[in-house]
């Protein structure tokens, strides 16, 4: 395999900002399913993985559900998404390694360029690297493993922790939840499985890195996180893909269970190339006095439809979603959050900041729902949009469903443009127009970025600056 450096700048698509558009050769792949989706492909995936019968049946049932559900007609434009033009399963390497030295050269070099091994040394408690459909590298700090922390890929988890997986798999997001959850349930591969035992607090983040390499690839990882009572974890995921002229599909399902008094923070820095459809279902259930936080940064992809949800199941549960979306040329970010108050005395907060430029479209779509018996709930929603030019667009779709009188719900929304005076002021101090715009945008998202651990804050600001480069003609 040879890394194709010639496509690394991706200038051919006019999106010179994107740094991760390079790809490796796929000649030596262990397995590559033919294009298209049918019952046989689903069975083939299950057979390749030597799965138990229950999982095979789960997949086939989900496939039928997928067929029976119509395509969503709301959100983004899915009319060009052709399910028969996609490879649903690709395996680049035979096995998962515990040392980067054992990972095939090309793949290792790709992760080197993405900075993963370096980050692992500096500030991570564990890493999973998924390349196409399978996890090719995994590590976890020894002391955490000794404490009973499990951080593995979901395929291995089915073999190694069958009871734990079977008890929770598909309970937070059932296959019939939506068309793409059904699709994922039918063809899922890889993803992270995390179990944090009672009272174990993991200080440093666990990180997963998802990489699509091939053209017309479908990546369908399946993540299940169980944080037991009084435990805490911060999980971070990053994602990139090469730039191709044809579409790829990323459709993950992420299920999280945060038990009583536990904490979970899930941070996403999504930076897919601009030919990827990113249609992801993420949902957490938070029990008594638990805290669930989604920090969701969407910078890449052609179309993202993603609304991380938190079901507040028992009194005292808290949910928080911080969402940053950046829609550049040819991009539509349809992102937001859902908070469902199922119990009294639960509270939620949604903060959304979106930026659109060069014809990009950023939509906030959010739901706050309060069930009939859920008294004394509090919810606070703030969405701010910044539109950088006249071609770009921002929309807000806030849905509020309240079946309970004793609640306190606040919703604020603002849309602003970069004022001429702000640009002039910064430029009069020697900043170029591009630097001034980038500084204004960085300032706009600063209230969210400062909530991130420093390394990720730096990364987020760097990505925003890259997005802003060349934005001024």
């Amino acid at each position: 395999m040879a890394t194709d450096l010639s496509s690394s700048t991706s200038d051919d698509l006019g999106i010179g900002e994107y740094q991760y558009g390079f790809h490796d050769s796929t000649d030596n792949y262990t397995f590559k399913s033919r294009k298209g989706l049918d019952r046989e492909i689903v069975e083939q995936i299950s057979a390749m993985k030597k799965e138990p019968a229950w999982m095979r049946d789960f997949r086939l049932e989900a496939y039928d559900i997928f067929l029976s559900k119509p395509m969503p007609t709301w959100g983004g434009d899915l009319s060009h998404l052709n399910f028969q033009d996609i490879h649903y399963y690709m395996k680049a390497s035979d096995r998962q390694e515990q040392s980067w030295d054992d990972v095939p050269d090309d793949i290792r070099k790709t992760y080197d360029r993405l900075g993963i091994p370096e980050a692992e040394k500096k500030y991570l408690a564990g890493v999973k690297a998924q390349y196409e459909s399978e996890v090719v590298y995994g590590s976890l700090q020894e002391d955490l493993a000794k404490k009973g922390v499990v951080f593995t890929d979901t395929d291995s988890a089915i073999r190694d922790y069958p009871e734990l997986v079977r008890e929770h798999f598909g309970t937070v997001i059932p296959s019939f939840d939506n068309k793409f959850a059904a699709l994922n349930s039918a063809v899922w591969s890889g993803g992270s499985f995390i179990y944090v035992p009672k009272g174990v607090e993991i200080e440093f983040p666990l990180q997963a890195y998802f990489r699509i390499n091939s053209e017309n690839m479908g990546q369908f990882e399946r993540t299940l996180i169980i944080v037991d009572e009084g435990a805490s974890v911060h999980y971070v995921e990053g994602c990139t893909a090469p730039t191709y002229s044809s579409e790829s599909l990323h459709s993950a399902v992420v299920e999280i269970i945060v038990k009583r008094n536990a904490r979970c923070r899930y941070t996403t820095i999504q930076n897919w190339s601009n030919n990827v459809y990113n249609l992801v279902t993420k949902r957490a259930m938070a029990y008594g006095n638990a805290l669930m936080e989604w920090v969701d940064g969407n910078l890449g992809s052609q179309l993202t439809m993603k609304y991380p949800a938190i079901y507040l199941m028992e009194p005292g549960a808290r949910g928080e979603t911080l969402s940053i979306a950046f829609a550049g040329k040819g991009q539509h970010q349809d992102a937001g959050a859902k908070m469902v108050h199922c119990a009294p005395n639960t509270s939620s907060r949604i903060v959304s900041k979106s930026i659109s430029k060069a014809g990009g479209r950023a939509s906030y779509r959010g739901l706050v729902k309060v069930e009939p018996h859920a008294t004394n709930c509090k919810s606070n929603v703030v969405c701010d949009a910044l539109i950088l030019d006249a071609e770009s667009r921002s929309d807000t779709y806030p849905y509020i469903e309240i079946e309970q009188e004793h609640v306190a719900i606040e919703h604020e929304a603002s849309v602003s443009k970069i004022a001429e005076e702000q640009l002039l002021y910064l430029m009069s101090r020697g900043l170029t127009e591009a630097e001034a715009s980038a500084m204004i945008v960085t300032g706009f998202i600063e209230p969210l970025v400062k909530e991130l651990p420093m390394e990720y804050a730096v990364e987020m600001n760097r990505l925003i600056e890259l997005q802003m480069e060349g934005s001024v003609g």
């Binding site: 002039l424 002021y425 910064l426 430029m427 101090r429 020697g430 591009a434 500084m439 300032g443």
Partner: protein, 281 residues
């Protein structure tokens, strides 16, 4: 060699309405000039035009620094040539820390040929310099961590302008009513700050309709503007006279401009003048 900021026969329109009608003025490094005049005479228009506000259209005449024409340059390029405007209404930039902003600005000003993305001046060096300058201007170092002008009082904003002036060390500083809206203590602080900064390396144009700032920074030249023209130029005593007696004598001496001023006030141009001042303060 002493550099100069030279304005020749400058005509400026805002949204098609002529505001400046032939302004000529030369400020050399080391000189202090005062520019006075009643409201609406075009003082702030001149300031915004100098700094390169895109809304202010030069229809005739030129601005030069050291013989280099500025007319076609944007605000950033003008700043890199050594021009600075202390804004009458400093702009709020939410989420941008004073220190981050200043470090970026200083890097660009000191290295005008810097390409985007090249490194900034070293953090330690910068912090030390900023701290020293804030101490000298009697500013709490906490300012450096605040967001630029966000939640600042009027006096804090003006002091922030002076701090920027101090850090950027321009060859030409234009101060647009830096003393307005401040109590006398704040005026003293700002005035003393400016006095410390100005010197043989800096040419200063102070726009004011009071003369308090001028007590600390005595001008060699005082210019009076009326209806978009400089109608008189004198020394510091002219500034004092205007402060004590107002503009009625000036109007009598220049009936044509006074008539134009009255015509603007009664309608057509007054609107344009209002838009000259940003709505967001």
């Amino acid at each position: 060699m002493v550099a100069s900021l030279k304005i020749q026969d400058l005509h400026v329109s805002v949204e098609g309405l002529p505001i400046l009608r032939g302004v000529s003025l030369e400020v050399r490094q080391g000189e202090i000039h005062a520019l006075m005049g009643p409201n609406g005479s075009g003082k702030s228009t001149l300031a915004y035009t100098l700094v390169g506000h895109p809304k202010y259209e030069i229809t005739q005449g030129s601005i030069e620094i050291d013989g280099k024409p500025l007319n076609e340059l944007d605000a950033c390029e003008r700043a890199r040539l050594g021009l600075f405007l202390a804004f009458q209404y400093p702009i709020v930039i939410p989420g941008v820390k004073v220190a981050d902003f200043l470090r970026h600005a200083i890097t660009n000003i000191r290295n005008p040929d810097r390409k985007e993305g090249e490194g900034l001046i070293p953090m330690r060096e910068f912090r030390k310099e900023l701290k020293a300058m804030m101490d000298e201007l009697g500013m709490d170092s906490e300012f450096a961590r605040r967001y630029l002008n966000e939640g600042f009082s009027g006096g804090e904003k003006k002091r922030m302008e002076i701090l920027q002036l101090a850090m950027l060390k321009p060859r030409f500083a234009v101060l647009d009513e830096t003393d307005s809206g401040l109590d006398s203590d704040a005026v003293r602080v700002v005035s003393e700050g400016l006095r410390k900064l100005s010197g043989p390396q800096m040419g200063v144009l102070i726009i004011t309709h009071h003369e308090r700032l001028l007590e600390y920074n005595v001008p060699q030249f005082t210019h009076v503007m009326l209806a978009g023209k400089i109608v008189e130029t004198g020394d510091a005593s002219l500034a004092r006279e205007l402060h004590n007696e107002g503009y009625s004598k000036v109007r009598l001496r220049h009936p044509e401009e006074a008539a134009e001023e009255a015509a603007r006030a009664s309608g057509r141009s007054s609107e344009a003048n209002r838009t000259a001042e940003p709505a967001s303060v």
